[in-house]
Subunit: 338 residues, 2 copies
């Protein structure tokens, strides 16, 4: 059994913790929080071992009537590997602590590629994690782009990928974020960082991305223009993506015409928190004009990297092939194959 700790219990940490509990080969040793807020109470109600981030944090927990089992350092002694789901940049600060205690570590997409030297998407580079001490699971948008572009590259050879990413501006609980009635260029200076980030996983892909922020909370929406080397047709592209793990084809003829209907579909799938771990590709949006494939896809920003985090734990601790880990993760999270 792999003993795993989760440092950070926000959008990603909470989901990773629950996903670890579902795996037959993993034990959730505990979760770490800085503040004694309602999320900390959720961890207590789930009977997870709760740890404070440091002595100062521990005091604030005690003042709130919560009794963590100790601090991050105490938890680290109990684990084989730690998943760091702390806010952007905090992971980099924590990495030294993990290193000093000789613990393997997984970081999220908010950290820089150079922190670990390996940016990870299960189906693209699982084997590169072998023998490593740490890796970085890339962000939601990068994960989605890698799954889909890697699939098309293997099937048809990708010459050039262009994507315009229309981002949800806030997660559903982030009431202080805007905008209310605007499209924000995020950033104005081009290209956006996503293309560069894809190349940390797929270094040979020619990709340029642009990104906007709009007043929605459900999902990111990607408009893709991908030119390929091999002559193909819409059916072949659909078939290829349909066979790709963690890619779900949706169709407007079934009433799915916006991110809201994809989110509604995800609710019906019965997953915890209505999470959609798959990239949702509109099958009937796929159109080929000359050598370019055009289509839309939706990305549930809160959920898509969860299977990657689980696979990453196995990739770093060993004992599983890529296919074995992906199959097991999919089964335990309820991801349907093909």
């Amino acid at each position: 059994m792999i003993r795993v700790g989760v440092n950070g219990y926000g959008v990603i940490g909470r989901r990773v913790a629950d996903a670890i509990v579902l795996q037959p080969d993993m034990i959730l040793a505990g979760v770490v929080k800085v503040k004694p807020d309602y999320k900390a109470r959720i961890a207590v109600e789930k009977k997870y071992n709760l740890y404070a981030s440091d002595e100062e944090s521990l005091k604030s927990f005690h003042r709130s009537g919560l009794s963590p089992k100790g601090t991050l350092e105490d938890l680290l002694k109990e684990v084989d590997i730690i998943v760091d789901a702390c806010p952007e940049g905090v992971g980099a600060q924590n990495s030294r602590i993990y290193e000093d205690l000789g613990k393997k570590a997984i970081f999220e997409g908010g950290e820089e590629h150079d922190l670990t030297g390996l940016s990870f998407v299960s189906q693209c580079n699982f084997d590169d994690a072998k023998g490593r001490r740490s890796l970085r699971v890339v962000s939601c948008n990068t994960t989605a782009l890698c799954r889909v572009i890697n699939s098309l590259d293997r099937a048809f050879g990708v010459k050039r990928a262009r994507a315009v990413i229309v981002r949800r501006a806030a997660d559903p609980d982030e009431t202080s974020k805007g905008p209310i009635d605007a499209v924000v260029l995020d950033p104005v200076k081009l290209p956006s960082h996503h293309g560069h980030d894809v190349r940390t996983v797929l270094p040979n892909i020619d990709i340029v991305t642009m990104a906007l922020k709009v007043p929605t909370t459900h999902m990111h929406l990607h408009s893709l223009i991908i030119s390929v080397k091999e002559k193909t047709n819409e059916d072949k592209v659909r078939d290829s993506l349909k066979k790709t793990t963690r890619v779900l084809l949706v169709d407007s003829r079934e009433g799915i015409k916006s991110t809201a209907q994809v989110a509604d579909l995800a609710r019906e799938l019965g997953r915890p928190r209505s999470d959609l771990y798959e990239v949702a590709v509109w099958g009937d949006s796929i159109k080929i004009i000359d050598d370019e494939i055009y289509f839309y896809m939706g990305v549930h920003q809160e959920a898509i990297v969860i299977p990657e985090n689980i696979d990453a734990i196995r990739a770093l601790t060993g004992g599983y092939s890529k296919e074995e880990s992906i199959r097991l993760t999919n089964k335990m999270l309820g991801i349907i194959e093909g």
Copy 2:
């Protein structure tokens, strides 16, 4: 003096009517409305000659205590040319009435290209209107794309234009339209009609467009990827667009990072209704990677076609060169050159 009637007094009709009043060579003979709503009262308060659409409509006006001067047919007898700003498809029905009375007519982008055989953007094809009886001013998005792509084509030769259009889902007064919290693929099937529509004005441009709808009201936001034949650089592209009439360069270093700030800028310009007649191109978003120019631009959907409507009146009735008409329209509407 050119005697002009405006049939339809909604988003476009109201603006065209006001713009006609500002022109030294035009007289607004009257405006036509179907329903006696608050917009009809606005026309009365502005002392515009108000006409009902037909006898039935006239009765409903009388019941509301308003006394139009007659019906559309009465107005048509008074005019040299009519601007049809009726809802999509209604213009096509009206065209026979105009034809029967031998009146020149301008239609809007909701009508099909084939209705008139000429899709019009002032700076692209003003001269093609000479001797014609009617034309169609293209829609807001098409107008914006034509202005910018035509400019880049003349300067550098456009090889291929790709655009992802993120549309405001509703005008500010349309309270019954959604979405609230979703990105809608509009349409799901690709490509969107905008590329085809650009080719009704610029037939030699290779253009493919995709379009989404988001919960904002201010402006459409275009993400553009344009590959050009001639080697160029960002400064040359900026200079070229800066010199293009009805294109306004904005800059994030001046705090303009979203459609909301462009709209706020438009309010400060002191135009009626805070209208922005220009396409707003983010100068500091312009980036060249290999042979592709990337940039963002904003389109005020309610206002951008107003100068085109004014020029179209002159183009159909004669007596002005393209440059003379554009210069006069710009001056009267307060559009700054260069």
